[in-house]
Amino acid sequence: MRRTTFAMGLVALALAVSASALAQTPTDATGKKAPAVQTAESQAALTPTSALEKLKKGNARFVEKNMRTRDWMAKVPATASGQHPFAAILACMDSRNPIEIIFDQGIGDVFGIRIAGNIVNDDELGSMEYATKVVGVKLIVVLGHTSCGAVKGAIDDAKLGNLTGLLAKIRPAVSASGPGSSKDDAYVTKVAQANVSQAMKEIREKSPTIKEQLDAGTVGLVGAIYDVSTGKVTFLPD
């Protein structure tokens, strides 16, 4: 009797597991996994908080070596008619922080703006205004990283062609961080954080469109630092 109850319990459990598995992996008529891409509906259902949660979970998957397997070529036609990403990420050009990989995101998920030292200029502000106002992203992330060459260059006050002007944009973050050396990793990270805060401040001050959406709570703005040796993204407190 007890054994029968146990067996029935197992069957019920197996049914429940298969039902939940089906719910998570919708299949089409041919039995192929349907391409899960961001749609206007899924984008509208998100908030700045839930968008941030998606990025945190994605980075945890990356760090835990548990990245999603994606059918990329199913996502391409599925996103061809429009994009509905949930976040815009301003990050450094550094080859070590490919944003889609470190946040384990697919095609059509995040809007990417990248430049040395993740500084803010007019074209990027325009890109962010487009991302929030037209494309409908819920969250803007300014992502700095450890061992940033541009930050080190700014600390050393280096001069090189068009880079000189770019580094000048990081100098206020150096001043705000007090004295230190580009050989001191902790100091470089401190300046990188100050540089993220500086970029966030500039976004608020230089874009009335974005400020309006931030004030209304329809869009969020967060800063973060990516650690190039551990792969972990640490979101900064407000």
Binding site: G106, I107, G112, I113, R114, D123, S147, D156, L160, G165
Partner: protein
């Protein structure tokens, strides 16, 4: 694909790039074919996801005193060459991509590359401004990338 080679491909047939003698040699022509092959893998539905694991990142961190992204701008060319030699085993960015911010065009994914492979400048409409140009100059002059792909 609009690609800009920074030096004639023939120069790479025999000798290393004289400006970056210890950089692993990825000529403009070779870089273009790597990008084409990567995109071929992607469109064939057979991406290999090179260098995108946590292990790869740990290898890069453990095997280099510092990474290519950390070569200080104030270094002399001799110092920079020495630093690049230290990095050569672990860091392999071979091209710079200037592309659009559009969420459907993540360069590392469509070219099937991973951590440490590509320098990326992205802005809506892939327009070039002074800071974008400065970023590219940094990747070319300091880090030795030899292909710019717009």
């Amino acid at each position: 694909m609009v690609a800009v080679s920074l030096l004639g491909a023939s120069q790479f047939a025999r000798a290393a790039d004289p400006a970056h003698p210890d950089q692993p040699i990825v000529s403009p022509a070779e870089a273009i074919s790597r990008l084409k092959e990567g995109n071929g893998r992607f469109t064939a539905g057979n991406p290999q996801h090179p260098h995108d694991s946590v292990d790869e990142r740990k290898y890069m961190a453990a095997n280099s005193y510092e990474n290519a992204g950390t070569i200080p701008l104030g270094m002399t060319s001799e110092q920079a060459a020495k630093r690049r030699a230290e990095l050569a085993k672990s860091q392999h960015p071979f091209a710079i991509i200037l592309s659009c911010s559009d969420s459907r065009v993540p360069p590392e994914i469509v070219f099937d590359e991973g951590l440490g492979d590509l320098f990326i400048v992205r802005v809506a409409g892939d327009v070039l401004n002074d800071e974008g140009l400065g970023s590219i100059e940094y990747a070319v002059d300091i880090l030795g990338a030899r292909l710019i792909d717009v």
